[in-house]
Symmetry: C2
Subunit: 429 residues, 2 copies
């Protein structure tokens, strides 16, 4: 167990809801809470998830209070009978639940905006443990609350993401700031997390390239996380350690320098946004010719607001005939080399560029599996083609493993990265 003084700034989240246990959906609320708290210098070290079952909520609060000074609960404050967070907190802390005037009035006012009056279930939402501070909910009907118990500060928020998010920003963070202002006994500082997204290197390759990056004793963690979209590299400062801004910045620079163009994005940035900015900056337009990715590249590029300025069109040419009809790929070229070949990828890229009149044609053809492999062409064999209007199309072969969905993801990433590198080279020239 951590020491008390340290524990005050260790946080635990408890997400409550049976749908978070089985077959429903994963808890993303706690990620938002951890980010918000981290920026205030409070480290979420533990996350717990329990169902809408009062004894389990009680156990979770007990456990959290042993190891964390700040406990943020989400969920179980709704109007239905299975919502029992209020009751669990009252039980373990020995407080009574009373209908609190401020809680009731806030809720009634909110419902009145929607032309409704509180029903019996909603009236329960105004019940607050005695001595707790009410945390108003400006976007939904359930107020939250905060109370001190043992050495922990226990806070309860609704589980609806939008409500929880607004309350974290408008209520919880100001509340904590006020509460801890006089308590500056620890050299608290925000947890800083720098994230880099790399593509084209394995986790092991990156591990080798970053060997010895962080000197022994520097309280910064290096994290590597592989996914079909590449490897996420993170540098995270440890709380309660003094790490100068320059130390972090020089580590960031070192990561950039060691990984170079393998890094395609940083922080919240995405491959599709990066490619979009490069296209915009160079005033170029793109058209796609997708076979095995089936539209995924188009979908990704058009996730970016404003992408209609540089995405002109795409041809999802799943059948061979579609490759001929839509892109003018000669049927005999397909017959000679097969639809999954460097030659066809190149012809697809040229075809879509010429037919659409854009600056760049980008193509992908491959075998996403599980069927479709031949003796010489395994599942995961992918060709990317790029035609920029000058000279022949460029093309590149990739061999991926994984299931159909992973191969589609990797293929889309490979194609976008190929375009990204081409755009960067063009910029430099």
């Amino acid at each position: 167990m951590p020491r008390v003084s340290e524990r005050a700034f260790i946080a635990e989240t408890i997400a409550i809801g049976s749908e978070l246990l089985v077959g429903g959906r994963s808890d993303s609320n706690s990620l938002f809470i951890a980010d918000q708290l981290g920026e205030s210098g409070i480290e979420v070290r533990f996350k717990s998830i329990v169902g809408d079952y009062r004894p389990d909520i009680v156990t979770a609060i007990q456990t959290a209070a042993r190891r964390a000074g700040i406990i943020v609960m989400t969920g179980g404050l709704g109007p239905t009978i299975d919502d029992c967070t209020r009751e669990a907190v009252a039980e373990i802390t020995g407080r009574r639940l009373n209908r609190r005037k401020t809680a009731f009035e806030g809720m009634a006012a909110r419902l009145a905006q929607w032309g409704r009056t509180p029903n019996k279930g909603q009236l329960r939402q105004a019940l607050i443990p005695s001595g707790a501070v009410v945390l108003p909910n400006s976007v939904g009907s359930a107020p939250g609350f905060a109370l001190s118990w043992k050495q922990a500060l226990v806070m309860a928020l609704p589980g609806v993401p939008r409500e929880m998010e607004v309350m974290m920003v408008q209520e919880v963070i100001p509340f904590l700031t006020k509460r801890f202002r006089g308590l500056a006994t620890l050299p608290r500082q925000p947890i800083r997390r720098s994230v880099f997204h790399a593509w084209g290197l394995s986790e092991a390759d990156i591990d080798t390239k970053l060997h010895g990056l962080i000197a022994r004793g520097t309280p910064v963690d290096l994290g590597l996380l592989a996914s079909p979209m590449g490897v996420l590299v993170s540098l995270t400062t440890k709380l309660h350690h003094s790490v100068g801004r320059t130390v972090i910045e020089s580590l960031e620079q070192e990561v950039r320098s060691r990984l170079g163009e393998w890094i395609f994005a940083e922080g919240q940035d995405t491959m599709e946004a990066v490619v979009g900015r490069l296209l915009s900056k160079q005033a170029l337009t793109v058209a796609l010719a997708e076979s095995c990715t089936g539209g995924l590249i188009g979908h990704r590029l058009t996730q970016v607001p404003g992408s209609s300025a540089y995405v002109d069109r795409g041809a999802i040419c799943y059948s061979n005939r579609a490759k001929t009809d839509m892109l003018g790929v000669p049927a005999e070229l397909i017959a000679r080399h097969g639809a999954v070949s460097r030659e066809v990828a190149a012809a697809m890229a040229r075809g879509i560029r010429e037919r659409s009149g854009v600056s760049i044609g980008l193509s992908v053809t491959g075998i996403a599996g599980p069927g479709g492999a031949t003796e010489t062409k395994p599942v995961g064999l992918i060709y990317v083609g790029l035609n920029g209007g000058v000279g022949e199309s460029l093309s590149k072969e990739f061999r991926f493993h994984g299931d159909r969905s992973m191969i589609k993801q990797r293929s889309s990433q490979a194609a976008l990265d190929f375009l990204r590198r081409w755009l960067i080279d063009r910029e430099i020239e």
Copy 2:
């Protein structure tokens, strides 16, 4: 704390990884684990998440062992230095870590398939606590293990979702089945969870339609969970309650009857798979004309293995010129009604069908936002068109809210559901 006999069948998951705490990604592994265990009659009641920090992993294991009989850990078995699940388990259970021959050989064989030999980090992956059973990993390099400690069975699996999933099915479930065969002291029965996916009705509409479904005292929970893809309706039996199969089946029938064709899929089934089966059964082919969805419909349909049998092609016609070039939509039609109009949606569907020679043309045009709205055409206005070769195109207007990504998702769902209902009607006729 639960009684021992009961505790044997209570499970806790522990997901390990600093990226699961701050700003990274939510833990979805534990959902898969809970579903798998639930089908075997083992209830996941608690989920914990900790970072790659040995003392916190130790605390999490201690806590879990107090309240659960089965502990499934994921993550922290990788080759890098921050992976310390093995060491944490060894520490708390007082076992030594030894390089286990079976673990090493399995890993070496796996790497050899990829033409590699184990590096120093990967050699660490063959370290297994003494007395533990090795759980082979047939898709990745890190083996897992299982051991008994106090009254709990502690299992460690890799955090890579694909590896964890294969190991749950191939190793963990058979291991548990074997282990508990002689232990039928509890009236264990699988937690049964029936899931229905509905589109086109709000959560409130469904709540009303399902009012009074479950009689008081029946130990079955009704859950509703809204997302941009529709509403997930679930019926979940509570463990340790006797619920006859007929009770569940009649509740399922009642849900089907009350929600009718609003239900597009059940269980793990998806809209794209349902549409694919309907197309296959009727030996029909489809071609897409996507504007605001940017390829998402094509991507979704081609996620289904074997979809090349019925997906011929798609035109991502983001620009107006692309609508004219690729689909033959008259420029004056676009000028008169606007690209986002019922008329253009209908012309797009006919255009792609006629040009591709498929059975059905399916189109979407709309304003995904945040830009692009006009006085009469708000963000979220979507038209779907369908042309089946006989008569005029059908079309339908939708008005969605949400951000760009949600509107794209909803639009793709609306288009696929429109096609699904058309295929069902055609089947009936």
